[in-house]
C-alpha cells in the first residue's frame, strides 16, 4: 500500500503518478501481505488474506505448507527458526534474522544450492521490522529453486553472503544503495547505481517518485532542480 | 638557355635528368612525379571509400557529384577550410614541423623511383639505400607529432607506431638485401643498389626476382609485402590509430590542413613502398612475359593495353551515365559523367598514336603493378581485424626477421651453387 507523501500544492501538474486516494479503503491495510507473515500469529491465521477485494471472487491461491526431505532436515536443525511455504508451486523459507546466515551457509554447502540468482529487499513501513530481505537460490545438480526470506529492522545490519557467493557483491551493494540496509562483512559496501554523494534511498516506500536529492543536483549539476 | 633544354632531348643522351645534370628537366620530372602522386592520392581517396563500401555491402559516397566522383575534392576543400587548432600547451614549433618531416621523408623517396629506363628524377648509385634511409626518417615525424600534442593518448600512439616502424624496417631491409643479392648473379659478379640497375638486372636475367630460385624470391617478396603494410601503419597493423583503444593515435590533436598532410603522407607512403616492391621483385617497368611472348606481334598487342584500359574506363562511365535516373535533377550529373567518360575516351585515343604508345609503355606497366598493390592495401583493410601490439611485435621480430635471414642465406647459397 504505497502511501505517497502528499505532493505540495505548488506542484500543480503532477506528472506521472495518478493521485491515489490515501483513504483507508485499501482492503489489506490491516495485516501485511500473507507472504511476509510475521512469525507471531499462528500459521493457520496468516493463511487467509483479511478479505478479498471483491466478495464474489473466490479466495486466490494461498501459501500452503511445504513438506519435503529438505525441509525436514532444516527443521531438525533450526526448529521453529524457519517455516517452509509453497505459493503457486514456488517454495520459500521464512527464516529469522539471527538464523538466516547459518541457513544460507547450509543451503549452499550441504544442499548444493551453488548459484545465488538474486538478492533483493521489500519495504513494509508499517511493521516494526520493515525490511524483508529475499535470497533467490538455484541448485544446478538438482535443478531446483528456493527463496529464503528474512525480516530486518531499519538500521539493523544484515549478514553479507559475499563469501558464499561472489555474485552477491554487486547485488548487496545495490540493495544498500536502494534500501539503505547495511551488510556486515561486505568487502566494499558503497553505492553502485546512484552517485556517491547522494543522500536518501529511492526504493523505500517513504521516498516519493518525484523526490530527488536536490542538494546534490544543485552542487554537481548546477541546476535548480531536476524536475 | 634554349640549347641547355634541348641538349637533354637528343637521342644519344640515354640517362635520367638528374644524372645528366640538367636541372630544368629534373624540375620538370619532379613536377610530373609530385603532380602524378597527388592525383593518384586523390583517386585513392575516392577508390578506397568506394571499394571498401562495395566490399561491405554498401555503396559508398554517391551524393557529391555522379557516383561521389567529386567527393575527394569536397574532402580536400573541407580540410583546407577547417580551422587548424594547435592544442594549448603544445610545443608549437615541433607541432608545426612534424607533418612536414613526414611529407619530406615520403616524397624524397620518389626521386629515385624509376618509371622507365630514363624516366626517373635521378638515379643514384645507392638508390635503394637512400630510399630505406629516408623512409626511416618518417618515424621522426611521427614521434615528434605524438610528443608535441602534449596529451597521453597521442604520446602512447606515437611510441607504439615508431616502435612498430623501427622493428619492421629490419625485416624490410633483409628482404631488400636478398633481392639486391640476386642482382649480383651476373658476369662481373657485383650487383647494384641503383633502382634502374636492379630492373636492368632482372631484364638481363630474363626473370622477375619474385620468381627467381622459385620459392626464395617469392618468400622474400612476401616478407617485404607484409613489412611494407606495417611500415605504413595500414590494415592489420594499424594499431596506432586503433579507434577502439587510443582514439586516433599520434594525429589525434591535428585538424584541418595539417591533418590532411598526414593523410597525404600515408597514401604517398603506400605508393612509395609499393613502387619499391614493384621495382625490386616485379620487374619495374617491364611488360609481363617479355621473353616468353617475344616478337613484334606481341609487342604490338601489349602496347595496346594502355589505350584499352582507358577505353574500358570510358565505357564504364558511359554505362553509369546511361543508367542514371532520367529525372531532371539527375540530368546534370548524367551530363557530367558522360563528359568525364568522353575525356577518358580521348585519352585512350591519344594513347593509340604510335609515338605515344611506345613512350607510355614503361610508365603504364609500372603504374599498373602499383595499382594492384594499392588494391591489396584496401582489401586488407576490409577483411583483417587488428593485431594486438604484442602480437604485432612478435610477428615482426619472431616471424619476419628469421624468415628474412633464412631467405637471405638460402639465396646466397643458391647464387653460389648456380654460380
Amino acid at each position: 500500500m504505497p502511501e505517497d507523501p502528499k505532493p505540495p500544492a505548488a506542484r500543480s501538474t503532477n506528472t506521472g503518478t495518478p493521485e491515489k486516494p490515501v483513504a483507508g479503503a485499501n482492503p489489506v491495510s490491516a495485516t501485511p501481505p500473507a507472504a511476509g507473515a510475521p512469525p507471531a500469529p499462528a500459521k493457520a491465521a496468516a493463511a487467509a488474506p483479511a478479505k478479498p477485494a471483491a466478495p464474489a471472487k473466490p479466495a486466490g491461491p494461498v501459501p500452503t505448507l511445504w513438506e519435503a526431505a529438505l525441509v525436514d532436515r532444516l527443521k531438525r536443525r533450526f526448529g521453529s527458526g524457519i517455516e517452509a511455504w509453497t505459493y503457486l508451486g514456488q517454495h520459500y523459507l521464512q527464516a529469522d534474522g539471527a538464523v538466516v546466515a547459518e541457513l544460507l551457509q547450509i543451503l549452499r554447502d550441504e544442499e548444493k544450492f551453488d548459484y545465488c540468482v538474486d538478492v533483493t529487499a521489500l519495504h513494509y513501513p508499517k511493521r516494526e521490522r520493515p525490511f524483508d530481505l529475499v535470497w533467490i537460490l538455484y541448485s544446478f545438480p538438482n535443478n531446483q529453486r528456493v527463496r529464503v526470506k528474512a525480516q530486518f529492522a531499519d538500521g539493523a545490519g544484515a549478514p553479507s553472503v559475499v563469501k558464499l557467493w561472489p555474485t552477491t557483491n554487486w547485488l548487496e551493494r545495490e540493495v544498500f544503495d536502494m534500501f539503505g540496509i547495511r551488510f556486515e562483512g561486505h568487502p566494499d559496501l558503497k553505492r553502485i547505481l546512484l552517485p556517491d554523494g547522494w543522500k536518501g534511498h529511492p526504493l523505500r516506500k517513504d521516498y516519493g517518485i518525484l523526490q530527488q536529492d536536490s542538494e546534490w543536483v544543485q552542487i554537481n549539476l548546477g541546476i535548480e532542480s531536476g524536475q | 638557355m634554349l640549347n641547355y633544354i634541348t641538349s637533354y632531348l637528343d637521342k644519344n643522351v640515354q640517362v635520367t635528368p638528374g644524372q645528366a645534370g640538367n636541372i630544368f628537366w629534373a624540375l620538370v620530372y619532379i613536377l610530373c612525379v609530385f603532380g602524378g602522386v597527388s592525383l593518384v592520392v586523390v583517386c585513392m581517396n575516392w577508390l578506397e571509400r568506394k571499394i571498401l563500401a562495395h566490399m561491405q555491402v554498401r555503396i559508398g559516397p554517391m551524393r557529391v557529384g555522379p557516383h561521389g566522383l567529386l567527393q575527394p575534392i569536397a574532402d580536400a576543400l573541407k580540410l583546407i577550410l577547417k580551422e587548424d587548432i594547435i592544442p594549448e600547451g603544445a610545443d608549437t614549433v615541433v607541432f608545426w614541423f612534424a607533418p612536414l618531416i613526414i611529407l619530406l621523408a615520403v616524397f624524397s623517396v620518389y626521386c629515385v623511383i624509376p618509371f622507365g629506363p630514363t624516366h626517373a628524377i635521378t638515379d643514384m648509385n645507392i638508390g635503394l639505400l637512400f630510399m630505406l634511409g629516408v623512409s626511416s626518417l618518417g618515424v621522426l615525424g611521427i614521434v615528434m607529432a605524438g610528443w608535441a600534442s602534449n596529451s597521453h593518448y597521442p604520446l602512447i600512439g606515437a611510441l607504439r607506431s615508431s616502435a612498430q616502424m623501427v622493428s619492421y624496417e629490419i625485416a624490410m631491409g633483409l628482404a631488400v638485401v636478398s633481392a639486391v643479392l640476386m642482382t649480383s648473379l651476373n658476369a662481373q659478379g657485383t650487383g647494384t643498389l641503383s633502382m634502374i640497375g636492379i630492373v636492368q638486372a632482372q631484364q638481363s636475367q630474363h626473370i622477375w626476382f619474385a620468381f627467381k630460385f622459385f620459392p626464395l624470391g617469392l618468400i622474400a617478396f612476401v616478407v617485404f609485402a607484409i613489412a611494407m603494410v606495417a611500415e605504413t601503419n595500414r590494415a592489420p597493423f594499424d594499431l596506432p590509430e586503433a579507434e577502439s583503444e587510443l582514439t586516433a593515435g599520434f594525429h589525434t590533436e591535428y585538424s584541418g590542413l595539417r591533418w590532411s598532410l598526414f593523410m597525404l603522407g600515408e597514401y604517398a607512403g603506400m605508393i612509395a613502398v609499393s613502387s619499391i616492391a614493384t621495382t625490386l621483385w616485379l620487374g619495374g617497368w617491364m611488360r609481363p612475359f617479355p621473353n616468353l611472348l617475344r616478337g613484334a606481334a606481341w609487342d604490338m598487342a601489349f602496347s595496346l593495353f594502355p589505350a584499352l584500359t582507358f577505353f574500358g574506363l570510358a565505357g564504364l562511365t558511359f554505362y553509369g551515365a546511361a543508367r542514371m535516373a532520367k529525372t531532371s535533377f539527375f540530368r546534370v550529373q548524367a551530363m557530367g559523367l558522360a563528359g568525364f567518360g568522353a575525356v577518358l575516351g580521348v585519352i585512350g585515343l591519344i594513347l593509340l598514336l604510335p609515338p605515344v604508345r611506345t613512350g607510355i609503355q614503361d610508365i603504364y606497366w609500372f603504374v599498373a603493378k602499383i595499382a594492384v598493390f594499392l588494391y591489396l592495401f584496401i582489401w586488407y583493410r576490409a577483411t583483417f581485424p587488428r593485431y594486438r601490439f604484442d602480437q604485432l611485435m612478435k610477428v615482426g621480430w619472431k616471424v619476419l626477421l628469421p624468415v628474412g635471414l633464412g631467405v637471405l642465406i638460402l639465396t646466397a647459397a643458391a647464387g653460389v651453387v648456380t654460380g
Binding site: 521489500l122 554487486w170 | 571498401l52 561491405q56 604484442d390
Partner: protein, 384 residues
Amino acid sequence: MNDPNSAVSPLDLDAKESTFLDANELILNMGPQHPATHGVLRVILKLDGEKVLGLECIIGYLHRGVEKIAENRTYAMFNPYVDRMDYVAAVSNGLGYCEAVEKLLNVEAPPRANYIRVILAELNRIASHQLWLGTHALDIGAMTPLFYTFRDREEILKIFEKYCGARLTTHAFRIGGCLYETYDGFEQDVRNFLDFVGPKINEYEELLTTNRIWVRRTRDVGVISGKDCIALGVTGPVLRASGVKWDLRKAQPYAAYKKFDFEIPTGTNGDTYDRYLVRMAEMRQSIRIIRQAVDGLPSGPIMAKVSKVIKPPVGEIYHSIEAPKGELGYFIASDGSTQPYRVRVRPPSFVNLQALDLMCKDQLVADVIAVIGTLDIVLGEVDR
C-alpha cells in the same frame, strides 16, 4: 584503490617515489564516453605498462529507476518500460514480464500465443546476437562483419514492424497472451527469412572463424572457468562457453519450448573464441526452433481470459527466462491492488559485468575492449 577520479598523468614521476626503471602504475580512465564500451560504462584500469593489474566498473550513468516507476504504474502500464531495459532484446524482456504476471494471476497463455511468443523471442535472439557480432568484430578491428550483420538484422526488424508496428522496443506481448493476431503472410515472411539467414551466418563464419588474426585476438582471451561462472552468477552464452550445459529453455521450459527439440551449444575452455562459436551455434539453433514453431503453429485464441483491470491476489513469485544475454528474472510482489508492490528485475548484463575484473586480470588494454565486447552487456539493462 586510491581515489579513482584523480587521473595520475603517466609521466608524473613525482606521484610516487619510483626509480627510473621501476614501472609506475598508470591509472587509465576509460569511458563513460568511449567508442568501445557499449554505452555509458566507465572502467578505471590500473595498468602496469600495457598489462591490466585490476579494474573497477563505475556504472549508473543510465539509471532511470525502473523499479521505482513500477510501483506507481498498473501492471499493464509498466509493460512498455520493460522493453527499455535491454533495448537490444526487447521482445525477451516483454516475454519475461508477461509470463511472470501471468504466473501471479495463475493464468496460462493459449498455445497459439505461446508459439507466436517463441517465434518472436527466437527472432529477437538472432537479432541480438547479430548486433553483438557486428560491434564485437568492430572493436577488434574487423570492419566488414558489422555491415553484413546489420543488413541481415534489418530483415528481422521488418518482420517485427509488420507484426507490432515497432522495430526495436516492440511491446509485442500483453499479459495473458498476444494482442495482435499474426498478419497474413507472417509464416511466409518468417520462412523466407530462415532460408535467407542460414547461408548468411556461414558468410560471417567464413569471414572470421578461420581468420588467423581473429583467432589470435580471441583465443585464450578473457578466460573464465565454469566454476567461477557459477560462483559469479554469470549465465547465458558466457556460462555455456565455459562448459556448463545449462539453458533455462531446457532446464525450466517456459512458453512452448517443451514442444521443440534443439541442442544447447557449449564451449570447452571459456575464452572469447569459444563464446563467439557458442553464439554462432545458438543462432543456428534458433533457426531450428523457429522453423519447428512456424510449421506447427496451432490455430485458436491468442489471448487468455484476463480481466481488463489486472488485480492479482496477494503474493510473490519469481519467474525467469533465457534472454540472449543470460537469465533474466522478475520477482514480483503484489498486495492485491492494481499496482505491483515491488518489481525486482534480475538483469543478466548487470551480473555478468561483475566477471569483467576476473576475466581481464593480466590481460592487455586491447583485450579489455575485446572482453567487454564478448560479455555482450547492454548498459540499459545494467543500470535499469
